[in-house]
């Protein structure tokens, strides 16, 4: 066969190969359902990229396999092949064509990015806080309601203002497509307009230490009326209306804002830190070999200076940040309700209720 005939044959095979690859790709490679306007936009790009992947992959593979089959050396042939050095036209062609394509895709990507990140009308702000290994969400427009689940009204443009308390984390709900890191010391932003009522899961996508795997939060997209009902139900009562134990339980939860629940369980199951079930009065074996009774003073010290007395068998990962955080919260309550609370006292009262 002449070179020209080979080229015709291989071109036909490339077309077939590209089609087969494309169908194989779209059959085996699925995106999760799209549940936001962002997903719709981004999935269009995915579609085009899948087509390009199929084409370029088939182009090279088919040419290569064709050569492997057709230009195989005959047994006993010791002659060299044709002395072909190169071809400047072809070289320029396969430099310029990809270049044009790359620029076109870049323009598309840049305009899409602009659309994804620019402000929308009627945005609702949700403040997202990430800390080892839990999430909390604050709704400034709903009386600063704080929640451990992310609940969003459907078709409402949302602006997430995000902040990490300790290390980097990353916000990713695959059904929404977009992702954004949370950085200590600065706000990062992400815009989402959920379009489908349903339950999803937020999973931290940036390694953040021991229990990164478990840094999850439920995401619920609900109708506007369900959202309003949820807000009403979950708004925090005034502090003075709560007993110390109730306040302690609140501080423990993500809703209360300190999320001890990220590491401590109250039902005896395993976590990154010791369970609080039966903690009060327990004989605690420490890493330095001593044993200590978990009384008020010990618990207070464990919270203020976590590295002082490490419980045997646990890593020293409890953050030493609570002294400052508690002081700030106590000052806030004093200012708002003219009420003096001692958060550690509340926590100890709560822990005392957790007996087997």
């Amino acid at each position: 066969m002449s070179n020209r005939k080979h080229i015709y044959a291989v071109s036909a095979l490339v077309v077939v190969g590209a089609i087969v690859t494309y169908f194989g790709l779209t059959a085996l490679y699925k995106l999760p359902v799209g549940a936001s306007t962002e997903a719709t936009t981004i999935d269009q790009m995915f579609g085009v990229y899948f087509g390009l992947i199929a084409f370029w992959f088939a182009l090279i593979m088919v040419f290569m396999l064709y050569a492997v089959v057709v230009f195989k050396r005959k047994p006993g042939d010791t002659e060299d092949a044709a002395h072909i050095h190169g071809n400047t036209t072809v070289e320029i062609l396969w430099t310029v064509v990809p270049l044009v394509l790359v620029v076109a895709l870049g323009v598309w990507g840049a305009t899409t990015l602009k659309a994804l990140t620019s402000e929308r009308e009627g945005e609702m702000v949700v403040r997202v806080t990430g800390q080892q290994w839990s999430w909390s969400f604050e709704y400034p427009e709903s009386d600063n309601l704080v929640s451990g689940d992310l609940v969003l009204p459907v078709n409402q443009p949302i602006l997430l203002k995000m902040r990490a308390n300790d290390v980097l984390h990353s916000f990713w709900v695959p059904e929404f497509r977009v992702k954004q890191d949370l950085v200590p010391g600065r706000d990062t932003e992400l815009r989402i307009t959920p379009t489908d009522i349903g339950d999803y899961m937020l999973r931290c996508a940036e390694i953040c230490g021991l229990s990164h795997t478990d840094m999850l939060a439920k995401v619920r997209v609900v109708s506007q009326s369900d959202f309003d009902a949820w807000v009403k139900e979950n708004s925090l009562p005034a502090m003075s209306e709560l007993s110390t134990e109730e306040r302690g339980a609140l501080w423990y939860s993500t809703q209360g804002g300190f999320a001890c629940s990220g590491c401590h369980t109250v039902d005896g199951s395993a976590g990154a830190g010791p369970t609080w079930l039966g903690l009060y009065g327990r004989q605690e074996a420490l890493e330095d070999g001593t044993t200590i009774t978990a009384d008020d003073a010990y618990i207070r010290n464990s919270i203020l200076h976590p590295a002082d007395q490490i419980v045997a068998g646990f890593p020293n990962v409890m953050p030493p940040i609570y002294e400052a955080q508690f002081a700030a919260k106590e000052a806030e309550i004093l200012a708002e309700e003219n009420l003096t609370v001692d958060i550690i006292e509340d926590l100890i009262a709560y822990i005392k209720t957790l007996q087997e």
Binding site: P174, G185, I207
Partner: protein, 618 residues
Amino acid sequence: MGTLRIIATSGLIRGLIGQAIGAALGFGFVTLIRLGMGLESNPEPGAVFGALTSVIGFLAGAGVLTDWSKWALGKETPLRHGPQPGKPEWARYLHVDYNHKVIGIQYAVTSVLVLLVGGIFAITFRIELSLPGMQFLTYEQYNTLFSGHGIVMIASILLGVGAMVNYLVPLMIGASDMAFPRLNAFSYWVSVPAAVLILTGMAIGGWDTGWVAYPPLSLIAPLGVQLFVLGFFVNGFSSIAGSINLLITVATMRAKGMSLFKMPIFVWAAVAAALIQATATQTVGMALLMVVTQRVIGLNFFDPATGGDPVLYQHLFWFYSHPVVYVFVLPGLGVISELLPVFSRKPLFGYRWIALSSLGIALVGFLVWAHHMFVAGVDNTLRVFFMYATMFVAVPTGVKFFSWVATMWEGKLSFETPMLFVLGAISVFLIGGVTGPILGNIPTDMHLHDSYWVVGHFHATMFGGFVFPFFAALYYWYPKFSGRMYKESLGKLHFWLMTPGFWLMSLGQMQIGLLGMRRRVADYDPSLGYDTTHVVITVAGLIIGWSVLIMAYNLISSARSQPLAGNNPWNSRSPEWQISSPPPEFNYDVPFEVVGEPYDYGLAGSVYIRMDPSSSGE
């Protein structure tokens, strides 16, 4: 002298003992001072200082510093050392030796050993991941294993690049050795205590930051992170010294008549890689040092509470760590370009374009680092700039693919094991290549970032760009450095296990990444529907692991039992094949002169080099 005795008194063992002593001295020194000052007990400052003194202990113990110390004292040393006097030939490989071929083989053996260690880490956590729920590892162990896997594999690849470059470049350009043989030995040996530090870090508590060591996490991670960061840092000396040595060797020691565009194409790739190593390693060293000093003496670079910036680290880190992937793949792609003409019996298509595309990739590679930070909280203008730069890399990379296919076109192809691995490399690198642009475009990356898609993509580029070509190179030059032919049947078995195994593995990884599987997690929710694929990935990983063991067995056993290979079993035009196998101590007893083009296969009567320059009239 008995075998045991030779091993026990070898430079390697003396180095390791020196490292232990150095560590003890450094640790004791700082700890005593702290005790004397009445400071609270904290092993970390002692461990950091001990790690640094341990490296000096290793180098002194192994004998890397001997000649230099003698020079400093004004004493003479022989210009060339040659083999170990009174010891068998193999003893050279356990001692500090200045011959580039010995050092090349030391690099290669260490690289494969380290590769196996990193592979065992991967297999371990892959078995854990094959089923949802925690089977036999704790989170701590899991995190340490994947972090260790990353950095250990990077160390292995750098060693593998060192192996190819050291062994081949002087032979290919007609030099008797590298420009600075003692610096060359230093470059190899300093990477050994670095590896020891990293493995020790895993043993004494591990760490959970991945190989990237992003602060603030790396500032509060367990002590193991310090030894890993220091090991990484120390390894940088190997890269910098090795690359400068290579650049000077190529610049000043080429044979007569070897102009730049007459160099074997692998040399171009090696130069491009060395340019990156010589200029980018410093920034990651800086970033790592900042983590160490913030942890040990509280210099705040990264904590925003008092004016630090956690994102700064990421810029410094990726300014090196993106280009370094081209340090890994450029030599690998060079091997592909080097071998294809030999097994196709045709000139390399578009030699100049391929040579310049290596430089092009190296240069553009410096301007793309922030694509690792598309969702890190950087502004849109910066993201868009780095998006364009990243996507431009596709252009010179495409040139390579097209030129390879064109080289094979109308050739006379034969399929011995090295050629099979070259074809496997192209197919696997192609998977990596076509799955990259979708990550380079910001909107699609917002979904795929830090997902298993990325894991699949970069394993494909690393295997296609480095591992497959490295194995091709080991088989191809095996007859040159051992004098004997490997077993073809085992080589083919290796290929037919590893290639489908790898395809399955990376295609599976990308599939679940698209569905939402995160990177660096110890467990996953079975309701997400990718538990079957996880089993497939693990099984494929095991197949790859076994196939590499088959290669190791093949290369070790063939060195004794196989027939002699002769000088030029592949009928190559390249200079290293025109001399005996293994080559003489100083390569070319008679210098050669370049009189033709390197890849003029099929041009009647043409040769690349002439061995006897006296006949040229000069």
